[in-house]
């Protein structure tokens, strides 16, 4: 396959996944904001500052707005044309990348992305509030599900499919790691009481479609340590890091059984398996997740250098 076309497919898949992630991030923020404020706040970021830091848009946001409010962050992250991390920008990028390779996609796949974009492109904040913000976010999530369904249900199992699958897994691993990292402290609950914040934990799991998985796996109360285990180590939970890394391995192996990247992937996978949650929780999860995020980024770069950007 043409290297440039492969790169388009890679980014098409990543940006759809990203749009879904931003929708989930907004959902978790909205629902967390509805919970009573935590005592003292302890210098932590508010529920509405977190998304800006997570997507690296905090400077851009403050260059245009003075204060963080729920409405501003929502419209900025959902619709803003100038915010490269907004849902609208992600869906636009997905559609543009798809348009460049539409001849390589099944018509279903192309039509889903094209229609999603056409439905979003001219949307105003009034339109979104009329539909309802939660309803709109749910729609974005469902469009992403539909995209994935069409990808798995109609696209030939050839290089293009495997590159899309790899891109999706890379993006999701990055997103899950960042979300867990950003929300970790808030799960610890009130520092004085040292009791976990069940509600925030529940919201986090639900937005990652992992609440049921938690109950089925542990049938126990929500505990930060177990949440971390679920989202880092459980290969059967579709948004966990272990799942994403396994998916990257499956896709890469199918595409190129002799890929030089398989070694790095194996190392990452062993790293996730081998870590002891008790130790992690004690010394703090942040550093570990930072390293994982960096490693996933390196893998993505190596993939692109090796297969996608021959220039």
């Amino acid at each position: 396959m043409l290297a440039r076309a492969a790169d388009n497919i890679f980014w098409m898949a990543r940006t759809v996944e990203r749009a879904e992630h931003i929708a989930r991030l907004m959902e978790v923020s909205m629902r967390s904001a509805m919970l009573p404020a935590q005592g003292g706040n302890g210098g932590r970021l508010s529920d509405w500052e977190t998304p800006l830091y997570m997507t690296g848009q905090v400077d851009d946001f403050f260059s245009r707005y003075e204060k963080v409010t729920e409405g501003r962050v929502l419209s900025y992250m959902i619709l803003d044309k100038h915010n490269p991390s907004s849902i609208r920008s992600a869906l636009g990028a997905a559609r543009e990348n798809a348009r460049a390779v539409r001849h390589l996609l099944t018509s279903e796949l192309w039509e889903i992305l094209n229609r999603t974009w056409l439905d979003t492109a001219d949307m105003t904040w009034n339109d979104v509030t009329r539909i309802g913000v939660p309803q709109h976010l749910e729609w974005v999530r469902f469009r992403s599900h539909l995209f994935r369904g069409a990808l798995f249900g109609s696209q030939r199992r050839a290089e293009g499919f495997h590159i899309a699958g790899f891109g999706m897994a890379v993006e999701r691993a990055d997103n899950t790691a960042r979300l867990l990292r950003a929300k970790w402290d808030s799960l610890q609950g009130d520092a004085t009481v040292r009791a976990p914040d069940f509600y925030r934990a529940g919201v986090l799991l639900e937005t990652l479609s992992a609440y049921k998985a938690y109950r089925e796996t542990f049938s126990a109360q929500l505990e930060p340590r177990r949440i971390a285990e679920l989202l880092i180590q459980r290969p059967d939970v579709p948004r966990s890091l272990a799942f994403c890394v396994r998916e990257m391995d499956v896709m890469l192996r199918a595409m190129d059984p002799d890929s030089p990247l398989l070694g790095d992937l194996g190392a990452l996978s062993r790293r996730l398996e081998g870590v002891q949650m008790v130790d992690l929780v004690r010394v703090g999860l942040h550093r570990f997740l930072d390293e994982i995020i960096a490693e996933v980024g390196r893998l993505s770069d190596r993939m692109r250098a090796h297969y996608l950007m021959v220039v």
Binding site: M1, L2, A3, R4, A5, A6, E96, R99, A100, V101, R102, H103, L104, S107, W110, E111, N114, R115, L118, E159, I163, Y307, L308, V310, V311
Partner: protein, 483 residues
């Protein structure tokens, strides 16, 4: 000439004309609301499928839909026979002409076409001299624009021998019509066009460099901001070939390669949708970012085939156009089947004087223009527009040609609130490789504004599905009902 009531292809002569008989009955049986419903359904389909073109200039490139008209343009097999034989004859002569001017130059020596007109032409490429291209094919894909003025008379307006576009609309229009009006296709025996991509691929493969059995064919596009990008992607998909940009190709050791996920892969045939000027920065426009450095050298060595051939533009030049009847006679020994529109070359003083006096009744075009840009339609222009144009002509007469305003035929067309006649033309797509062939039909373009003669999509023109009825029982209906 323009004042006479134009020939209507459905109603011309009073009764409904033969090819439209069944369709006409159906059209009368259906109410306007139903037509409007189907018109909207067609629009929605085009938008959903992303069948769009990009408009230059406005806002740096906006995607638009070409207006699609749900009323088909219908030709009988006899009518099509005239058009198809005519365009094949013409393109055969064009290829022979190009082979000649780049090699023996018999036609120049015979004084049929002035040598200066060819050798100093901007589209003439001296780099092509002495090169024998596979199968003697230069204009592998030609879009010959045909208009009609009465039941028997067809004129050729332009021979597009460079990179004609529009064939994807011919194919998609048919798909949409079959989705919207399955009942009509059951009643009519419409000749299929869907095999065009297959014929195109056959044509491209047939001109591969000698010794290459299983050629790697690619489509070279300027990229997704080009106005015809949809078509490029569509054709690549239909043919199952790679859609490449200049940056995806490179030349090494006089061989063209594309960059793939598994390293370089050799390319044998390039169906290019980029103009000559931009195709190789080493040979032509040095600032081109779209082309492939070194491509011309590999081409000249016969290591890769380029379709359409470089330098083919000299054959569809509007000044060369005036010599087409003689060119056809010279190479085929036959009389032209399709007429040439009488044309005044403003480089000739007599022609210039006549045209300047009759601007209000003529169409004036730039010799190198295309897409309906930079032209004057005298009868439709204001006094001021005519005077502006007069100054442009006087500044450099050789840049222009003029033609009488033809009363283009009209076809019934769905417009706001009903059906009305609108002017149409027809662009059949002729393929030349080992053989020269044309699929039955083409792109019918329609001027959506009342009275307008400009059908170009860049000027608000629309398209119609073009039906060529196959001869047989279905076309005329039962013997007893034949009108």
């Amino acid at each position: 000439m323009a004042k006479a009531k134009p020939f209507d292809e459905m109603h011309g002569g009073g009764d409904i004309r033969h090819p439209y008989r069944r369709y006409g009955a159906w059209l009368h049986s259906i109410d306007v609301e139903e037509l409007e419903r189907r018109h909207k359904a067609a629009d929605l389909l085009f938008r959903r499928l992303g069948i769009t073109f990009n408009v230059y200039g406005s806002d740096g490139g906006v995607e638009r839909l070409i207006p699609f008209d749900i009323v088909p343009r219908i030709l009988s097999s006899d009518e099509w026979s005239i058009v198809s034989r005519g365009v094949i004859q013409r393109v055969t002569a064009l290829n022979a002409f190009l082979d000649d001017v780049y090699n023996d130059q018999d036609i120049l020596r015979a004084g049929i076409v002035p040598a200066s007109l060819i050798l100093t032409n901007a589209a003439f490429r001296p780099e092509m001299l002495g090169m024998r291209v596979p199968e003697g094919a230069y204009a592998h894909v030609a879009g010959v624009d045909v208009v009609r003025v009465d039941p028997e008379t067809f004129y050729v307006l332009e021979d597009n021998a460079r990179t004609p576009s529009g064939v994807s609309y011919m194919l998609e229009n048919r798909q949409i019509m079959m989705r919207l009006f399955p009942d009509l296709f059951a009643q009519h025996c419409v000749a299929p066009v869907d095999h065009y991509p297959e014929l195109l691929l056959d044509t491209l493969r047939s001109v591969a460099p000698r010794g290459v059995d299983d050629p790697c064919v690619v489509l070279l596009t300027p990229g997704q901001f080009n106005s015809a990008y949809f078509e490029h992607a569509f054709l690549a998909e239909q043919m199952g070939i790679d859609l490449v940009e200049g940056q995806d190709l490179f030349v090494d050791d006089a061989t063209v390669f594309m960059r793939t996920t598994r390293g370089p892969k050799r390319v044998d045939v390039i169906y290019r949708r980029i103009d000559d000027d931009f195709i190789d920065p080493l040979a032509f426009n040095p600032t081109s970012m779209l082309g492939v450095p070194g491509l011309l050298a590999a081409y000249r060595l016969g290591r890769v085939s380029v379709c359409n051939a470089i330098g083919g533009g000299v054959a569809d030049d509007k000044a060369v156009y005036t010599y087409m009847p003689d060119i056809i006679r010279f190479y085929t020994g036959q009389e032209p089947i399709l007429k040439n529109v009488p044309t005044w070359c403003l480089s000739k003083p007599d022609d210039l004087a006549y045209v300047l006096e009759h601007l209000h009744e003529l169409v004036v075009k730039e010799v190198h223009g295309s897409g309906g840009y930079g032209m004057l339609v005298g009868p439709a222009a204001t006094k001021a527009e005519i005077e502006d144009f007069r100054l442009k002509i006087k500044a450099n007469p050789a840049l222009f040609i003029a033609q009488p305003t033809l009363a283009l035929s009209t076809c019934p067309t769905y417009v706001e609130g009903g059906i009305a006649p609108r002017h149409v033309d027809l662009r059949p797509f002729v393929l030349s490789g080992r053989k020269t062939v044309v699929v039955p039909g083409g792109l019918t373009r329609v001027a959506m504004r009342k009275g307008s003669l400009v059908v170009n999509s860049s000027q608000g023109g629309g398209t119609k599905d073009t039906w060529v009825l196959e001869s047989g029982i279905l076309e005329g209906g039962h013997a007893g009902t034949r009108g």
